[in-house]
């Protein structure tokens, strides 16, 4: 009977599983859409309304078409396009139409019609297959959509030469017309429709520049009525050519050497001489979304002017001047009850605020201030304005830091940080422990001061008392499934009991760095890099590391290595940030605005890595193979000079037209580490035609809890733990093969190599290496008659475990062995392949604090799920028969070729976590639990306990035990 409590413990622990009550407590999910693409009118945000709901439609840089609720900024729906199906534009037949038509894919291959209310695809039609699409730059050239106003039919131009009319009801083509000249000489770029005629407007290549070419087609039959070349000279059709789509007077407007030309269109195309707007010259013309009302905005050195078509459609005239021209000005248009309104935003130096001016085409009506914090959010990059019939303005802005905001009048309604969808690098930062607030205790404080201090401190007493009482009565302590979010009274940032609350530092390609609270996904701090401030500068993060952690006794520090590209030159820069608040640590007196970079050298970095040897510092390698250090101080130089001859690293290089990998070492120089250079030592011998596709970084050296695996017969398989191993993925299009290599970076020894079939010449292999376990996923497109999983197509997961020697009890101490010992290649690989139920976009093993807990495989599937697969299931030593008792003792069970797709292990449960690019796992303070963070488009974080929460008693056990203890205490006290 004494065993009963232990048995109870075993029974109630059960299997680790997700409960419905944990949703939103242990995990969070942030749906994102990406930064709106506003470069073209056809993808820029615009207001729409359906059934009384006001929505904002936008296409984004993450290839998403989204509808955002105007009232609260939530996502009404979003349509995520495949990577190869790039969105070209979305088009609506009037602001309140129930469907939005999208054109996407190479050459404008696909037309879809999407219900604005629900986001469901109503129609889909493929104009041509993806392989027939012509690739042009810019990718929007030669594609357009127009509508038949009465029948709602869709006209499209694809590939710059084919005009198709699609039925709005069936999606089937009514007619299709392709220009005779299908070479690239004439590219049709715009469509204008009238009830009888469709005009395809394009440009033809001539000697010096491009000339305008117009074809008029019969709207009902698609017959060519007239095709005509118009004497003109256009520099760039994507910025200088405009069409007026109003039904009464379709017209073409273009900019020719500073002059605005205007040509009304008639079906017979008789008029070939354009009218020229006299008087003013313009440097550029912008379409503010009012082209259907015959309104454009012209810009020149003096300012901006409204250009408006006459009422009879015969001529274009300059109307109101909109005001001074500055680089930060932006313009938008909106029609109120059919009358066009124009808005301009600019930075008012007098008010130190962004000012919005709104008016009709002839006069300025209102001026409002937008309370946009430029220090935090940057400047307005684009805005869309909506004016209600009562005159209230709604402004939707996209800032240079990628945040989107909605203002009603001058009131900010909501903000969404969409730059998070461009995250490329992520680092988990442990928070410091909570400090007792005894800091201001002074020895010689006055009596009055002490009373005052104690009164202030007494404010916290009721909360303490309530918490104490609650804990005493209910026995509720922090559990592994309780929320880690800080309460509002917790004071400065501090960790929770089990270290689930950490800061996730995210570096994005939008030039913004975020600090995110891992307990709830809220942005704690946001810093913009230089790219946001000055146009023409692009900053791309390459690497990010934690330089100092809480255990170093200081506030945690982050260092970001980035490429800084301007029009003239490239340089490699470093940002050094305090991870708790985003403060700049690279300078004595940092500026409060944008983060300033530390330039390390001119040119791009070939490689950058973090050295952790008596203190951490960054080693960067420039194009001349010269070594640079950050921080470049005496301490790091001394440490570097002592270990530089032990360093070796692989680099991708291109020689003799083949991507390959070379191994490098660093030569010690008598002139000190500043003169150290890297020299090649080995080259990976790849077969003819095989190229390196990806090099995965060496497996991060987490703590290794055990060096071997004890088998059922009391023998041991020692793990092959070579710290220098890295994974290289190759592609060989000639032989239609993909390669997986595990290579020792010190001498280029191939430790493991597998060839897998490519899918029509392309390889999409996902791989992860941790300790001695390699796992990779690919698509098997041929049905081969060999192997364990023979004769079937589909996704495969291969797991490989490397052990020392040729069998059991052979020990070579690979983890501590020098790279130059021959025995490093003395290993055996156990491998097994499985039929995997899903296509994957990312995979990662879990990591825990001490590495004792089993490592599960976390995968992001292409249908929007994050799922965990237990390591036990993926053991390559699973027997192909009934396991013997020894094998059963070891936990092995019979091999089954199909990996069981257990919905209970879908850790993202009902959330649709879309387009995950990367999964990062991080340890918590609790050994049993690992934090899993997935990002790409959406962000998702949860906790997993692969071996159950063995180090925390579940609430079900603690509570009865505490209760019985309390009962006993009452009896005996």
């Amino acid at each position: 009977m004494r065993l009963l409590p232990f048995l109870l413990l075993f029974y109630t622990l059960g299997c680790w599983a997700l409960h419905e009550s944990d949703v939103g407590v242990v995990d969070w999910h942030k749906e994102l859409i990406g930064v709106p693409s506003f470069a073209s009118q056809s993808t820029a945000p615009r207001f729409t309304s359906v059934d009384g709901r006001n929505l904002i439609l936008t296409a984004t840089g993450n290839n998403v078409l989204a509808a955002i609720e105007e009232k609260d900024g939530s996502i009404a729906w979003r349509y995520i396009f495949d990577a190869e199906d790039r969105i070209i534009g979305f088009y609506q037949n009037g602001d309140e139409n129930a469907v939005v038509v999208t054109l996407s894919g190479p050459g404008g291959a696909t037309v879809r019609s999407i219900d604005v209310k629900t986001g469901e695809v109503v129609l889909e039609h493929h104009l041509h297959s993806n392989s027939e699409g012509l690739l042009v730059e810019p990718h929007q050239l030669g594609k357009d959509v127009a509508f038949d106003k009465s029948a709602q039919d869709i006209y499209s131009i694809s590939n710059g030469h084919t005009v198709t009319r699609l039925s709005a009801t069936t999606g089937e083509p009514v007619w299709s017309w392709a220009s005779q000249d299908q070479t690239s000489l004439t590219v049709f770029d715009r469509l204008v429709s009238t009830p009888e005629t469709v005009y395809a407007i394009g440009v033809s290549t001539s000697f010096a520049s491009l000339t305008l070419h117009v074809a008029s087609l019969s709207a009902s039959t698609g017959q060519l009525i007239q095709s005509s070349e118009i004497h003109s000279s256009i520099h760039d059709p994507s910025t200088d050519l405009f069409t007026f789509t109003s039904a009464a007077s379709p017209a073409v407007v273009w900019l020719e050497q500073g002059l605005v030309k205007y040509l009304p269109l008639t079906p017979d195309l008789k008029k070939k001489k354009p009218n020229t707007l006299s008087g003013e010259q313009f440097t550029s013309i912008i379409d503010v979304g009012l082209s259907s009302h015959g309104v454009l905005v012209g810009l020149n050195k003096l300012g901006s002017t409204v250009l408006k078509v006459d009422d009879d459609g015969s001529n274009l005239k300059a109307a109101r001047a909109l005001g001074g021209q500055d680089a930060t000005d932006s313009f938008a248009g909106h029609a109120v009850n059919g009358s066009p309104h124009l808005a301009r935003t600019y930075w008012s130096t007098k008010l130190e605020q962004i000012t919005l001016e709104l008016g009709g085409t002839d006069s300025l009506e209102t001026t409002t201030q937008l309370p946009l914090s430029t220090e935090k959010h940057g400047k307005i990059a684009h805005f869309t304005v909506g004016v209600s019939p009562s005159g209230e303005t709604t402004v939707f802005t996209t800032t240079t830091t990628g945040s989107i905001q909605l203002y009603k009048g001058s009131e900010l309604q909501w903000v969404r940080e969409e730059a998070l969808a461009t995250t490329t690098h992520v680092e988990f930062i442990e928070l410091p422990e909570r400090v007792a607030t005894e800091g201001d205790l002074q020895r010689d404080e006055s009596f009055a001061h002490r009373i005052g201090r104690q009164i202030v401190q007494a404010q916290d007493f009721p909360r303490y008392l309530v918490n104490f009482g609650k804990r005493f009565v209910t026995g509720s302590y922090a559990s592994a499934t309780s929320s880690a979010a800080a309460s509002s009274t917790d004071g400065p940032l501090s960790r929770d009991t089990f270290g689930f609350r950490q800061i996730i530092v995210s570096a994005t390609t939008s030039g913004v760095v975020f600090g995110i609270d891992s307990s709830n996904g809220n942005v704690i701090w946001k810093r913009s890099l230089e790219a946001v401030e000055s146009a023409g500068v692009a900053i791309t993060p390459i690497k990010m590391w934690t330089l100092k952690t809480v255990s170093d006794g200081v506030e945690p520090e982050i260092v970001i290595v980035a490429q800084r590209r301007t029009e003239n030159d490239d340089s490699t820069v470093v940002y050094h940030i305090n991870a708790l608040n985003g403060d700049d640590l690279s300078r004595e007196a940092p500026s409060p605005g944008v983060l300033e970079s530390v330039s390390v050298f001119q040119g791009l970095a070939l490689e950058a890595f973090l050295l952790d040897h008596h203190g951490k510092f960054v080693v960067l390698l420039d194009e001349a193979m010269k070594v640079h250090l950050y921080p470049n101080n005496q301490a790091s130089r001394t440490i570097f000079s002592t270990i530089l001859d032990k360093l070796s690293f692989p680099l991708r290089s291109r020689f003799s037209r083949q991507q390959n990998i070379k191994g490098y070492q660093i030569s010690s120089s008598s002139d000190g580490p500043a003169q150290a250079t890297a020299y090649p030592t080995w080259t990976l011998p790849l077969p003819q035609g095989e190229e390196i596709q990806t090099v995965l970084p060496p497996a991060s050296r987490g703590p290794i809890a055990s060096l071997g695996k004890v088998l059922g017969n009391r023998t041991t398989l020692y793990k092959y733990l070579n710290p220098r191993l890295f994974t290289a993925l190759t592609v060989n299009p000639h032989r239609n093969l993909c390669g997986v290599y595990l290579v020792d970076s010190a001498k280029g020894t191939v430790v493991y190599h597998a060839e897998i079939p490519a899918n029509h010449g392309t390889c999409d292999v996902k791989a992860a290496l941790v300790e001695n376990w390699l796992v990779y996923h690919y698509y098997e497109s041929e049905f081969v008659e060999t192997g364990n999983v023979k004769g079937t197509k589909g996704y495969r997961l291969v797991t490989v475990e490397l052990f020392e020697g040729n069998g059991v009890d052979e020990k070579i101490q690979s983890s501590d062995m020098s790279a130059f010992v021959n025995a490093t290649a003395d290993l055996s690989a156990y491998e097994e392949s499985f039929v995997f139920p899903h296509a994957l976009s990312a995979l990662a093993p879990t990591t825990t604090k001490f590495g004792i807990t089993a490592k599960d495989l976390i995968v992001a599937t292409k249908n929007g799920k994050i799922q965990s697969f237990p390591r036990r299931l993926l053991n390559p030593r699973r027997p192909h028969r009934k396991p013997t008792s020894e094998e059963a003792e070891e936990g092995l069970f019979q091999y089954d070729p199909v990996v069981y797709d257990d919905p209970k292990r879908v850790i993202s449960h009902n959330y649709q976590v879309s387009n995950v690019q990367k999964i990062v796992t991080a340890p918590a303070l609790l050994e049993s639990t690992s934090l899993v963070f997935a990002f790409g488009l959406d962000m998702f974080l949860t906790r997993v306990a692969p071996s159950n929460t063995f180090d925390v008693l579940t609430i079900l056990i603690t509570r009865p035990m505490v209760q019985s203890k309390r009962l006993r205490e009452r009896w005996y006290l």
Partner: protein, 192 residues
């Protein structure tokens, strides 16, 4: 050639999926429906170079060889219905006495515990002859067990062989060595 399946979910009908006129080249395909919350059967779709029956649809089980194909032909156009809706959550564990008692381990222990207390009374109520016979049987079982447990298979086997013919001296030598309580434990071990 186009393949346009209609998908049926348990609770709603998704509009006939508009997969139109994607030019699917001749070949063998596996059709899997990728949804977030429902499971669907996989199908094997053969697009053939024939006018009369351009598409053949067969059921397919993941992980099985494609060759030879299933003899069952499914109608075309394809209509699929959801097999199941995923349930991602486990029901919350409650401290359930009844559930705990139905656990086989607990049941075995409870029965063992009851036997421990009632066995002496049962023994007392047995008549001496039957008791003697019972002891003899138990001792032989225990002998076989201990022989196997100590790895002495040969003597274990011989003990089984001799089980049919009771020998007087063995029952005598063992009768004073074992108590009823211990025997009950031994029998429990045999059950395991």
């Amino acid at each position: 050639m186009y393949v346009a399946p209609t998908l049926w979910f348990t609770d709603c009908i998704l509009t006939s999926v508009p997969l139109t006129s994607r030019d699917v080249p001749i070949g063998t395909y596996i059709l899997s429906v990728i949804t977030h919350d429902h499971t669907f059967d996989q199908l094997r779709v053969d697009v053939l170079d024939s006018e009369s029956s351009p598409v053949e649809v067969r059921p397919y089980i993941a992980g099985t060889p494609l060759d030879p194909p299933s003899t069952v032909l499914l109608p075309y156009p394809i209509t699929l219905s959801a097999k199941d809706k995923f349930s991602y959550f486990s029901p919350p564990e409650s401290f359930n006495i009844l559930g705990m008692l139905t656990n086989p381990m607990v049941m075995m222990m409870v029965v063992g515990g009851i036997m421990m207390f009632t066995m002496p009374y049962l023994m007392e109520n047995l008549d001496p002859g039957a008791l003697e016979e019972l002891k003899g049987q138990q001792s032989r079982v225990a002998g076989v067990q201990s022989a196997f447990a100590s790895g002495d298979i040969k003597s274990g086997v011989s003990a089984i062989m001799s089980a049919g013919e009771p020998s007087k001296d063995s029952s005598e030598s063992l009768s004073n060595a074992r108590t009823p309580q211990k025997t009950s434990k031994g029998s429990k071990r045999a059950k395991r």
